[in-house]
Symmetry: D5
């Protein structure tokens, strides 16, 4: 269990009057303390409800975003993560940039040991785009982990895509 | 076959008046002797019926828990493992903590050579969380196994998640 | 092929400076002439990119909308249908109402012989909601078609839902 | 959109201090007004997070419950439906009875034109049980609808079950 | 809930020293009282663990057996059903006969309003055999139900079989 | 069980020196007695290992053949059915003819109450062909069954084909 | 088998110097004689390789076309059907028109007893369009078959579409 | 092809009066000569029809057993392998022991260069158990192969288990 | 967001009078600037709508093309990529050559750090062909990445192909 | 494109009077020149239509054969590969031998840099056999590639087999 003190930093979870921002709001991200900092472990978020706008045409884009990371001392709270992702709703960016931005914001928030983001977008003009980026703390073993995972990205069990 | 002596430690399997605890009860775990201790082999438990409570809101959570381990001299009996997992029913913990707790309890019970736990939880707020943790006996080859498996966790054949 | 005259009513398809409305805009729907009005035939639209807002909490909702209809003399143009569905983006309505509204707007636009709408929404609180509504021109055989299809809705080959 | 007056009956949706009952509580169900009462339409709830207890052994049971109905003047609010289903958590009943009870409670709440409940439970002793029950308002066309749907239940596209 | 009196007829569920018969034992079937006899409802058993012997060669056969029925006043208890199906383990019969026998035994036990059995067997010589039989109480509406369901058996959503 | 007398007509099952004919041999079909002739029931054969030759080019063709029938007094033995299907191996016929021939041979053999054959062939020139034919005993209720099943053939749950 | 005389009308199958037309060429269709004209049976063509052009933008479209028919005295030869479908390659038409045209050309060619065409197109602007049309010989039982199949089109086992 | 001499050791394949043992009989295993001993290659057996008994309760267990090996000079004949696996039918052992026993028996029979066994069992008490064991000839490169494969066991493309 | 200057090189996206070339046109490819050049990240294009001609027979071929690359300073714009792939429509090349040509053109366009192309073609004569090629900048770490990915290509989670 | 000279060695593709051999005919294999010999790339053939005979019983066997290779200067032409595989139709060999023979014939034909063959056969006696063999040019880096791929064969994303 977690004591009241441990959950002080969590304000959004359980709240009633949560306001949804539809414009890019990284400041809405919240954290809580990692209770197992002496161990490495993985946390993965599956986020199928991601939507943003195309910066050129203004047409909505849709994606499933997969976020995996190895926490250090603080962890991102998932309710705030949801609100943060919702804040892309009326925001325009290319797919490749969206994925980079999300990773940069989460590195900035949590200083994780490792993090990777994989976005799987719906097709435009018959072609879908799936960017992937990752990061490991510089000059640490996590940087090597990042390199190894990067090299082997999507090598097996690739998605079968037929646009239906 | 196993002799009566070998099955002495097993009290729950086959019992009629099994009592189910819905509050966290690690003491209910039982073990039996590994008949092949001179060999390394894997045992995996697939547990789709896991449910606990959210510590903040009290809302029930649901997950499939996958436990894989390499036994040393004693092994966890699966009937008792079921009762132990049921004992989370009215217990509140974040997903990340649940997975760590289960692993710590099983390390404490069995002192396995290696163990890993992967939880796949149902979504809240459109986002689902899948924590993963593992352990290899310190200063042994199993510790290296743990590191290698940790580095390569979930690299291929990722789940396709659309919340339906 | 279609002559230039036949495609006069189509202004959005192929246009560059298409403006996307994110507020409910049924006026944006366009039609073209049915070249086979002496025959009954089906047209089905699969629309997985639907999103709107929950009227109470303001949280975004997501759905795949399936629209099947039997056209009469005019048919809805699919580019305008896309823009129309996009116009729900910042609009709040319960799922049940969304499905009814879309059907009413398309009846109003096209006066089809028959039409049905099936929405499959993503879960909230672990429960997903799938409304279905249909319509057949009153006092015609299409009204009986509507009744028969309504009675037998979703009787077989039901979706298997596990929220992952 | 719905006016404030129209949403008066909804107290739980958006609330912060929602209390979860784990003992059977049909009184927690809430309704709101059907905005399209002059039309028949379907609403379906997919509820994969259902769990209750076996009345004999006390062992937890798990199911996905599918509820489809044709509303009359009032409709069940889905947040309250979630809480109602959660209230089976520590309640014991055979699968066949659970499905009947849920239907009776919803008939009692809403007086729908038609309703059906299909429960798909996880296996016990290698066998899983899937009860189905339905109801149509007596002496109305909905009663005939109920009979027709009952006769043709599960005739095609049956689940393939292998317990894995 | 069910009172003690109501569960008197159930002896096997929860018992410790259950003995498994591997020779055909219809006498092991048990029943309990239907608490909703004034209503028609469906109960379906999915039984993927069925195995018996080929009467000519003695080779084991394997199948998934699907049993659907509409109970009358008494219902088959599922623990006893499991034991009954296990009692085919060392019993030899052609697939077609197995399915007929099971139905006859359950009619004999429960006098249901309606019952159907569908067996899906594993291939022998590259060919698999799937028998189906059903029954509705003679001179009742259930007899007509049986005829209608029989006529439409397996018309849609047929299994795709490739023996892998 | 079946007595020795009842299995007299079965010569191929269990035999060692079975000879395989690769040229069309309907005479190899065998039957056994239906032990439940007073009841209608279904028997379905799934036969994924069918191969024959194209009569024009000599190229091999491949199919899964699905045979469903309602037996009368005699039933086709499956070992002999396998040998019969193997006898198409070096035989040339269009897909449409193969399916008709198989049905005619089985009608000739068994005089079933009803029978249908559905062949699903692999593609040639990017197009695959799936013929279906059925039969019900003339001037009996089975003839009407045949008509009804014929009219509704393949209406739902159609195969999704992409040639991969 | 078929005699040389019977295959006289088939010129394309087996030919070497087949020329592919990429402009609409219904004249390329060929037929052969139905050897079972006294019986009704189904023939279905699965054609996943269909491509044509959008008449407005010139962008290529892609579809899987499903053609089911009940032949009368002559049948369409599949090699010529392939060439005919290829002849849409550089031809522009809306999806709805393509499906109607194909049906009209095949009615014109074969005068079948019944025929239906279902096209499943890839998405444009996030929306995919699936037209369906059918035909039964006027003033015959096939006309009623057409009506019944038309009314029940796509009622169950609907495609799940997510554009990936 | 294989000469008569090469197939001398094979007695069961093609035999008529094969007797099935339902009690553990490793002596029934047969071998034949490896025709490509100068090369390493893999042979994999997929065995979905495995069943044995639980040693404590006597309840039948079911599994799919996957056996992969690199043969040395002799190879296990698959008909005898089937009979050997059938001989577990009335034999009681825990899942973990079954997998070890099978591997030991095959090592004893064939002295392969490498072998691994993976059993995937059906659930008991909501939990299924999947043991895996492997072996490489000591002090050879195959021992290193065994270690590498052991370390990386089941790292990707894990089964999704929901007990249905 | 991207400034107007940054999007200068993009002319096709959003344009109305886009002309489609059906003859091989590598000059149509466009680029834009990589906003994250100091980081390695992956971009993957899924292109299921690829079609070209067989150089010998002129028969159309179809494939899904998967393009993954690590960008350097410039990136290929996806609208232009679509047009480029469309320009193979009336162009003849063997599958193996197509995949090599696409890679060479993209290397020429972008000078990426790494790129790989995997084509999955539809079957001809019952056999489908899937070529794969990759490239890493010579004398850089990307060349080693290319070698490692090349060695491990398609080792796991292979497509299951049955031509249906 | 390829010049006439480059396609001289191809005689079968596009031919009309192709004769099919059903007896083992490796001489029928043809090659063409690799246009990209300075690069390593993969070519994979998926061949689901493979059939041969069991050498002991004469019963037909069926498999999907997967062939992956890295070409050197000459490449196998796929039409001839099809004819070669067809030439196993009336040829008897154990599964393990078939896979070795095919590889040896292709090495003999093409002298590839690397090649691997994986056969997935249909079950006999409830067990299916999947042999795998590979080869890398001796004393080259391809030999090491072969060893690495061999060691890691089928480690992840294993087929799920249930014989249906
Ligand atoms: Ca495709
Ligand atoms: Ca799901
Ligand atoms: Ca899903
Ligand atoms: Ca399953
Ligand atoms: Ca397939
Ligand atoms: Ca396709
Ligand atoms: Ca989606
Ligand atoms: Ca898809
Ligand atoms: Ca899809
Ligand atoms: Ca579940
Ligand atoms: Ca499952
Ligand atoms: Ca197949
Ligand atoms: Ca397919
Ligand atoms: Ca099974
Ligand atoms: Ca299967
Ligand atoms: Ca299968």
């Amino acid at each position: 269990m977690r004591s009241k003190k441990e959950t002080e930093s969590i304000t959004l979870l359980g709240q009633k009057d949560v306001k949804y921002n539809y414009g890019y709001s990284p400041e809405i991200l919240e954290t809580f303390e990692n209770k197992h900092p002496n161990r490495d472990y993985w946390v993965k978020f599956n986020c199928p409800e991601f939507t943003s706008l195309c910066p050129i045409t203004g047409q909505p884009d849709f994606a499933t975003i997969y976020i995996s990371y190895i926490p250090d001392r603080i962890m991102v709270e998932s309710k705030s993560l949801k609100l943060y992702l919702v804040s892309f709703r009326n925001h325009g960016d290319f797919h490749e940039d969206v994925v980079n931005i999300i990773m940069d914001d989460l590195i900035n928030l949590m200083q994780p040991r490792y993090i990777e983001i994989w976005g799987k977008f719906l097709p435009r003009g018959g072609i879908s785009i799936d960017p992937y980026v990752n990061y490991g703390r510089p000059a640490s073993k996590y940087e090597e982990i990042a390199q190894q995972r990067f090299i082997q990205h999507d090598m097996n069990g690739m998605d079968k895509i037929d646009n239906r």
